[in-house]
């Protein structure tokens, strides 16, 4: 079933159609939320909220770009919004690494600290740079998809991405550059 047919089915009250959408996009949406939030539990909550928001407003989907991209945009926005509402004290302890380090606890702690720096750096970007960087890297969307979903010219999206990365350069890539 293509995106348009899926949306029409949902609008006709077919919950199974929306389940198809959830099962198809849940991993991508969850990972994007996890990369923004850094905590699996928070990421699941935000991803669930994003799916519910998408369900409520699925009638606004006009077919500009893939439905997954439209959903990803909702999810990243919601994730950054929730991140902004999180109390600062919650960020004090270093988050555990997201991967499965398994072996060296010191390396795992350092990796967790590094991941936290990446998240904070991206979250600290201004719009529209943050959105483009998040959709491209955290949402793993192509630049063409981002251009379709955000209704911006492709060259504008490229420019936003480049400027976003330039803003991240003082924080990220230091080890490699050194």
């Amino acid at each position: 079933m293509d995106d348009r047919g899926l949306v029409d089915a949902v609008l006709d009250g077919d919950h199974d159609a929306f389940r198809l959408l959830v099962e198809r996009e849940q991993v991508a949406v969850y990972r994007a939320c996890l990369r923004i939030h850094g905590r699996p539990h928070d990421a699941e909550d935000v991803a669930q909220e994003s799916f519910v928001m998408a369900y409520r407003s699925i009638g606004t989907y006009r077919g500009d770009g893939p439905l997954g991209g439209w959903l990803m945009r909702i999810a990243t926005r919601q994730a950054f919004r929730r991140l902004g509402q999180r109390r600062p004290t919650a960020e004090l302890p270093a988050d555990l690494p997201l991967g499965a380090p398994g072996s060296d606890p010191v390396a795992a702690t350092l990796a967790g600290e590094r991941q936290r720096e990446v998240r904070l750096a991206v979250a600290g970007l201004r719009e529209p740079y943050r959105e483009v960087v998040a959709l491209r890297f955290f949402g793993e969307m192509s630049l063409e998809e981002i251009a379709d979903v955000t209704k911006r010219p492709l060259n504008t999206v490229k420019t936003h991405l480049r400027r976003g990365l330039e803003h991240l350069r003082p924080v990220l890539g230091r080890e490699v550059a050194a």
Binding site: V10, L11, G13, H15, F18, R19, V22, E23, Q26, V27, A28, Y30, R31, L34, R35, P40, A43, E44, A47, Q48, F51, V52, M53, Y55, R56, S57, I58, G59, T60, R81, P97, L98, G99, A111, R114, Q115, V118, V133, R136, F137, F138, E140, M141, S142, L143, K158, L161, R162, L165, E166, L168, R169, L172, G173, R174, E175, V176, A177
Partner: protein, 227 residues
């Protein structure tokens, strides 16, 4: 889901940004986790409790008011509408009066009048305590009536007061009677009326001034003019 590694060529990035991209890519590789097995069930459990999605404009409105921010916007809009309604309701009588025609202004003027009389009354009350002592000499009362006429210079402002004084004629009459006895203090208070009916009950207006109610003084003046 397959990872889509970033190719710097797709965005035509300069080479000095490659370390930054590499750092981001490393972060993505470390954060490739999956949601819980029951995630889809939990989402669908939440979705089934939601109202059916809508199409077109209704969908836009529903999307706008959804979420915490939407609820706050709705609350702010409601409060703003309520304030606007109160303001409009407050102005409504004035608008109706202005639209209503000539009979209304005569009623409207007295309502405007008390504010000037209230501003004047504090002045007479202060000399009232002093003038209680010389009150035995009625000549002072007459001396004060010119003073009142000085105040009468202000009368052009409350010149509409005679119309208002008609409203206060009831209590003002009482003040006038008292004023016969305590003519002294009233000099200031009666001043607005003294100009109108100085010949009639200038002293009486003063009496009302001693009582501290300027309005009563004005009332007496009205009755004086009737006399």
């Amino acid at each position: 889901m397959t990872r889509r590694p970033f190719n710097p060529n797709e965005a035509e990035l300069p080479r000095d940004l490659e370390p930054t991209v590499a750092d981001l890519e490393r972060y993505l590789a470390d954060s490739a986790a999956d949601p819980g097995a029951d995630f889809a069930d939990r989402v669908m459990g939440e979705v089934t409790s939601q109202p059916a999605p809508r199409r077109g404009l209704w969908a836009v409105l529903a999307g706008t008011w959804a979420g915490d921010r939407g609820r706050m916007a709705l609350l702010a809009a409601t409060v703003a509408a309520a304030i606007l309604a109160v303001v409009v309701a407050g102005q409504l009588p004035g608008v109706l009066r202005s639209v209503g025609g000539s009979p209304e202004p005569s009623v409207a003027v007295p309502t405007m009048e008390p504010s000037p009389t209230f501003t004047i009354t504090p002045e007479p009350t202060e000399p009232a305590t002093e003038s209680d002592e010389p009150s035995p000499s009625p000549s002072n009362d007459e001396d004060q009536t010119p003073g009142a006429s000085d105040d009468g210079d202000r009368t052009p402002r409350p010149s509409a007061s005679p119309t208002g004084s008609d409203d206060h004629s009831g209590p003002g009459g009482g003040g006038g009677d008292d004023g016969g006895g305590n003519s002294g203090p009233g000099g200031g208070g009666s001043s607005p009326q003294a100009s109108d009916d100085s010949g009639g009950h200038s002293g009486s207006g003063g009496g009302s001034g001693s009582s501290g109610s300027g309005s009563s003084g004005s009332g007496s003046s009205g009755s004086g003019s009737d006399d």
